[in-house]
Symmetry: C2
Subunit: 274 residues, 2 copies
C-alpha cells in the first residue's frame, strides 16, 4: 500500500493542464514543457534537475525506474504517483512508458552559449519538421558541438515530437532559441566564427571546408533549404558530396555528416597539438 | 477534352487491387509494389522504366509533370488518367501529389550485386522501422555504396513507408532482399569483403577502421542493434565516436556517418592512385 496519494482522475485540472502543454501557445503562456518517457526523463533528472518542476510516474515505472526516482528526489525534484490512465492522459506520446516530467525552459542567451568559446555550433533556421529538428540536436550533441541555435522562424523545440526525437540531447548542450537568424549570424561572426551555409547548391565541397577554424553550420528548411539572403550572407556555401544518384540527403543526415566532419577536424587538430 | 478514358470510380476492382499493395501479403502474392508521389515515380521512370507496370496520374499532375509522363510513354510504360479521388484511394500516402506507379520487384540476386566488385556495401538485418530502413538506402545511394542487402528478418523494403523514405534511391542501386543474414555474410566474405559490424559496443573507432579495404557494413535493429552471434561473426566491430553526452546516434544517422567515412576513404584512395 502506497503511503502517498495517487492521482487517479484523468479529467482533473492538473492532468488537463499538463496535457495542454502539447500546444505551443500554452507552453509559452505557462513557461513549461513536457518531457515524456524514461530516456528524456532520465537525461533531464541527471543533467538538468534544476529545470524539472514535477515528475510523474505510474506504478510499473516507479518500480522499474526506482533508481531514477530516487535520484530525482535526492535532487529535490517533486515526484508524483499517478495511475497509468492519468499518465496516458497527460502525454502526447502513445507509449510514454510510465514516466513524464514537466520542465521549465532551459534555453540560454547567446552570450552564455558563446562564453565557452565553442569550436563549432549549429544554427537552424526555417526548420519546420519536428523529427528533423530533434535529430539535428541529437547529432549536434553526439558530435560534440558547442551549442544549437534555433531561429525564431522554426519549429518550437519544446514541441513534444522535437523533445522525443532529441532522445535526451535537449538536456545536454546549450540551446539558444527564438532570435532572428540575421541577429544570430551577425553575433556569431562578431564572436569570430566562420559562417558555413550547408546547402546542396554550394560550390565548396565538405571535404575542402576549413573546419580547422571555429565555425557555425547554418542549416535551413528540410524541403527548400536556406532562404537565399541567409545563404548569401554566410562566408562559404558548403555541400555534402553526393557520390551516387541520390538528389540529396535529408536535413538530419546532412547535418550529421557535416557535424561529424567538424568533430573529425577537431580531433585531428587536438592530436596534432599534442 | 481528354481523348482517353479517365478512371473515376474509387471503388472499382482495379483501385482496390492497387490499394491492397499496402499489405505485405498482397505484395508478395501479386509480385508488385506501389511507388507514390512525383519523386519516387520520376526516379522509377528515369532509372528503371522496365519495372514500372502502370503509371497513374490525375489531371493536375498530368499537366504539372507532362515531361515525366511523356518520358514514361516513350519508355513504353502504360499511363492512365485517373480522378484525384481514385489516386487518393489507391495510395497509402495522404498527399501522393497526383502520381503513383505500380512496379515489379527490382531486387537482384547477390551474385549480380557482387559482379560489379563493389568497394563497399551495406547489410541490414533485423531492421524493423520503415523510416530508418528507407533512410539508410538513401544514404547508401548518396555515399556511392555498391549495393544494399536486406536480410529476411527485416522490414519489407517494398512497404510504402520504406519506399517513400528512400526518396527515389530504391531505383538507383542494386538491392538484394530476403536471404538469411548468415548466408549473406558468408558469401560477402567469400567475395573478399571485410565484414564491419556497426555497433555502439565496438572496440574499434570508425576513425581507425580499415576502410581502404573492400568492406561490408553490417547494421542491426534500430533499438537493440545486432544479434550477438551476427556481431561476433564479423571481422571487426566498429563504433561511431560519441564526443558529447548523447548515448548514441539513431540507425540512419550512424549508417550515414559510416557510409560517408567509406566514401571519403575511397575518394582519398582514388586521388592517391592518380
Amino acid at each position: 500500500m502506497s503511503a502517498r496519494p495517487v492521482l487517479t482522475n484523468p479529467r482533473s485540472d492538473r492532468v488537463r493542464s499538463v496535457r495542454a502543454l502539447s500546444r505551443r501557445s500554452v507552453r509559452q503562456r505557462q513557461g513549461l514543457f513536457l518531457a515524456e518517457g524514461p530516456q528524456a526523463v532520465r537525461e533531464a533528472v541527471t543533467h538538468r534537475p534544476d529545470v524539472v518542476r514535477d515528475l510523474y510516474a505510474d506504478d510499473t515505472a516507479a518500480e522499474r525506474y526506482a533508481d531514477l526516482l530516487a535520484a530525482a528526489r535526492d535532487a529535490g525534484v517533486p515526484t508524483h504517483d499517478v495511475s497509468s490512465e492519468v499518465l496516458a492522459a497527460m502525454c502526447d506520446t502513445r507509449q510514454p512508458q510510465g514516466l513524464a516530467a514537466v520542465c521549465r525552459p532551459l534555453d540560454v542567451d547567446l552570450d552564455a552559449a558563446l562564453a565557452a568559446r565553442p569550436d563549432f555550433v549549429v544554427v537552424l533556421t526555417h526548420v519546420r519538421d519536428p523529427g528533423n529538428a530533434g535529430t539535428v540536436i541529437r547529432g549536434a550533441d553526439a558530435s560534440g558541438a558547442g551549442a544549437v541555435l534555433v531561429s525564431d522562424a522554426s519549429v518550437d523545440v519544446y514541441n513534444p515530437k522535437v523533445v522525443r526525437s532529441t532522445a535526451g540531447s535537449l538536456f545536454h548542450l546549450p540551446l539558444v532559441l527564438g532570435a532572428p537568424v540575421d541577429e544570430l549570424l551577425s553575433r556569431l561572426r562578431a564572436a569570430g566564427l566562420l559562417l558555413l551555409a550547408a546547402d546542396g547548391s554550394g560550390d565548396q565541397l565538405l571535404t575542402d571546408a576549413p573546419l580547422e577554424r571555429r565555425h557555425a553550420w547554418v542549416m535551413g528548411n528540410e524541403a527548400w533549404g536556406l532562404p537565399p539572403q541567409v545563404r548569401d550572407g554566410c562566408d562559404q556555401v558548403v555541400r555534402v558530396p553526393i557520390y551516387g544518384l541520390a538528389e540529396s540527403l535529408n536535413l538530419a543526415m546532412a547535418a550529421t555528416v557535416c557535424l561529424y566532419a567538424s568533430a573529425g577536424a577537431r580531433a585531428s587538430a587536438t592530436q596534432l597539438s599534442r
